[in-house]
Amino acid sequence: MSDRLLAFDGIGQDFPAPGTKANIRVLDGISFDVDRGKFVAVIGPSGCGKSTLLQMAAGLLIPTRGAVHHRGRTVTTINTEVGFVPQQAQLFPWKTLAENVELPLLFRGVAAGERRQRVADALGAVGLKGFEQHFPNQLSGGMQKRGSIARTLVYRPDIILMDEPFGALDAQTRMVMQSDLQTLSMEAGATVIFVTHDITEAVLLADHVVVLSQRPSRLLANIPIDLPRPRNMFEPFRNPAFEAAYDAVWTEFRSQIDIGRVH
């Protein structure tokens, strides 16, 4: 399987529960593969461990049980071959937006001229032209998140991990950025794992939708979405196959989760 880029293999994660000596089991035996150039969407209830999974792929957290394999090697330390867009934007507050986006290029020793060009392109792509000199605390929440996305896309990593990337964006902006992401992946062959709460988004973008259950979280389903690409992000419901795929995910998601949970 030369195509298998990233593999989550029986991942389990326990966290200490404050106040008690016991642990809370958060993830319980999650296994799925991500093939090269594919989109994988991860959905699941709030607090089920989606962000935790992404952190493991980035090597920021070693699972209590199981392991993440990247190109066959077990991830045991910081994984610098992935790009990571965290749930909170996490821009560097002491750098302007442009400096923030430039940083990974600087780390990679890209020449100054090219850096400037790529930063301008990346900021343009997320609609932040004109805000280069703003510090993060001068940007709105959605703008910060877009900045964080630009900071990752600018260095074109092979694997992109995105934690609810478009959650803080309005419908219009979101559609444009979804479309851009699809183009990027198709042209550059980037592999994307992204967490989302929006089932429409998951079905629209993904080749596979991974559905997680309530804590302790197990893999409910790994649903392949066989819609042709490029897909139209602006009018998803025009495509009759879309509805079917949406329903498949929604049924899976909804059926096994206790509606009355929060009461």
Partner: protein, 286 residues
Amino acid sequence: MTESKPMTEMTYDATDGGTAPRRSISARAAKPLQWLLKLLPGIALLLFWQWASGRLIREIYVSKPTAVAARLYELFASGEIYPHLWTTGQELVLGYVIGVAGGVLGGYALGRSPQLARIFEPYVMAFYGIPKIALAPLFIIWFGIGMGSKIALASIMVFFLVFYNVFAGVRSVDRELVNLTLVMGANQRQLTYHVFLPAAAPFVMLGMRLAIPYSVIGVIVGEFTSSAQGLGLFIHEASSTYDPAGVFAGIVILLAFVGTANLLAGRLERRLLRWRSLSGSGPIDI
């Protein structure tokens, strides 16, 4: 805020290897080893001191560990040291407490009010910069030659350190959080207690720690200037009566003071900043 989990500690520090589960096992087994590691530099130092004394440098200037230990035993056995201890202990505690209290109040007031800060901060810095030993006669006139002048000196030293730390800490508090708290209906007292103090705690604790040795320095400088009793006097007398072991015995006792206070402060700090350690970035531990 949920991005980091305890185990990231491993990845965070480049010089630190090993995976997390392995580490937690070794951590338990390594408790005595940890202690050994901690003590090792100290033991090496003592051995070197013992060896060097009389070889590299005359014993009259540095004494030697065995002589210091013997002198310490003698001082406690004969009870000679207790009055000195008692005096200096009182001076230290009072000087420290007064200085910390003043520093916290002053730093908080100026930290909260940019107006006042703009006016008074330069003066505080100026007073802080005055070399107090140049004013020894003045201190004697104002505070006498008893405990008063030492307490004054120590609390001034402590005050400045705590003042500046609290000042900087209060100014670094996230205003959004403050505003949110005000919207929730907090009054000034509640704001102070629930937001400013905890948020500034890392700075406040740092100030309190820095101030520990300075309270000692303040008291000792004070006793070196004038005194009838106290460890500073004891050290000074030992040094002028050709008793180097006495000098170092006095220093060892002072270090015991500092060490104990630092230990207590470390405890307090770990307690107050427990929430920080949970996200991985631990507080200073002793």
